[in-house]
């Protein structure tokens, strides 16, 4: 390959039951506010603690949903490298993540396959938890190269069936 050295996970490297490397991150107010503004989410419960406590009844400001999607994407592509191409993600919100929490992302491969167009994919169940209590779950499917010359990003139209 002519690409610079970087993670390059192949479809054949992955089996059902494989675990993704855990990602633990200490959340601060800056994490929450930076994430909200990066996602252009100006709603006050993501930057104004008085509003969050007195109007939302939460203990503090909390991570917004679109920014959590960005965290899940990072968690998956840290594992796959740049050739991993997300096909779909399904999120379920169970609880909030606050400053002072250490959020921990864990993921496990639940299925793998190659579709009728020859595109290799893996399905992953991911949860972000605080003190082992899941706050958001994500079922993701990501395309991976079937060999060193394959690139899922080359697929278009009928050859991309996410």
């Amino acid at each position: 390959m002519s690409t610079p050295a970087t993670t390059h996970l192949l479809h054949g490297d992955v089996a059902v039951g494989d675990q993704l490397p855990d990602l633990a991150y200490p959340v601060t107010s800056t994490t929450v506010v930076l994430g909200a503004l990066a996602a252009r989410d100006w709603r006050p419960m993501h930057h104004d603690k008085d509003f969050a406590v007195n109007r939302n009844g939460t203990r503090d400001i909390f991570l917004n949903t679109p920014n959590q999607a960005a965290w899940f994407e990072r968690f998956v592509t840290d594992w796959t490298g740049p050739y991993g191409r997300l096909q779909r993600m399904t999120f379920r919100m169970l609880g909030s993540i606050f400053p002072g929490d250490t959020m921990v992302f864990r993921g496990v491969v639940t299925d793998t396959g190659v579709d009728e167009t020859g595109c290799g994919w893996v399905a992953i169940d991911i949860a972000v938890s605080v003190d082992d209590d899941p706050k958001t779950t994500c079922k993701a499917r990501v395309a991976l190269p079937v060999d060193a010359d394959d690139n899922p990003w080359d697929r278009k139209g009928d050859r991309w069936q996410p």
């Binding site: 997300l86 779909r88 999120f91």
Partner: protein
């Protein structure tokens, strides 16, 4: 923006509503701000050489697709604007369901989004259930798709939201 009553549901299933273009083109600065906010070091977004080889040039993180449609906090001359997922609020109002939660949402990714793209979005009501009672209260589940296309007409993503609009159990 108009309330959706029970009588409107059949007529609106599958109908494209609230088509609009984002207020600004997809831009590199926001891509870096988002990657920085989650410490995403994927070289696709930071290394032009990798982006050229892997994706034929720079792209935006796929999960950013809805970011390009959140309106500025303020804009000159603006008076009113539609809410994101306006169909959800039309259903709440028209069906008389004051509370609502989103139970889950799915994003399916198609053509990559690239800096400079002008994206368009539209909302499509896919289904509305009969009245059901859950521990939250009595109401209806609905599924709304949000489709995103680029300026060439390529589909770039579809988000599907499952909502439950309801009246609280004690008030029912």
């Amino acid at each position: 923006m108009s309330a959706i009553s029970v009588d409107d549901i059949d007529r609106l299933i599958g109908v494209e509503q609230y088509e609009e273009e984002g207020e600004f083109p997809v831009e590199q600065g926001y891509i870096w701000t988002t990657c920085s906010s989650v410490e995403n070091g994927n070289p696709l977004f930071w290394d032009e050489q990798v982006a050229e080889v892997v994706t034929g040039g720079p792209i935006a993180p796929p999960t950013m697709v809805s970011v390009w449609f959140r309106p500025h906090h303020w804009a000159p001359g603006r008076t009113t604007r539609g809410l994101p997922l306006q169909v959800h609020f039309d259903l709440k109002e028209g069906l008389g369901l004051p509370e609502a939660v989103m139970s889950d949402n799915t994003i399916v990714f198609y053509e990559p989004v690239r800096p400079g793209d002008r994206l368009r979005t539209r909302q499509i009501l896919r289904s509305v259930s009969d009245e059901k009672t859950t521990k939250l209260g009595t109401g209806r589940f609905w599924v709304i798709d949000v489709e995103y296309h680029n300026q060439r007409g390529d589909l770039v993503a579809v988000e599907s939201y499952t909502g439950f609009g309801y009246r609280r159990a004690e008030a029912a």
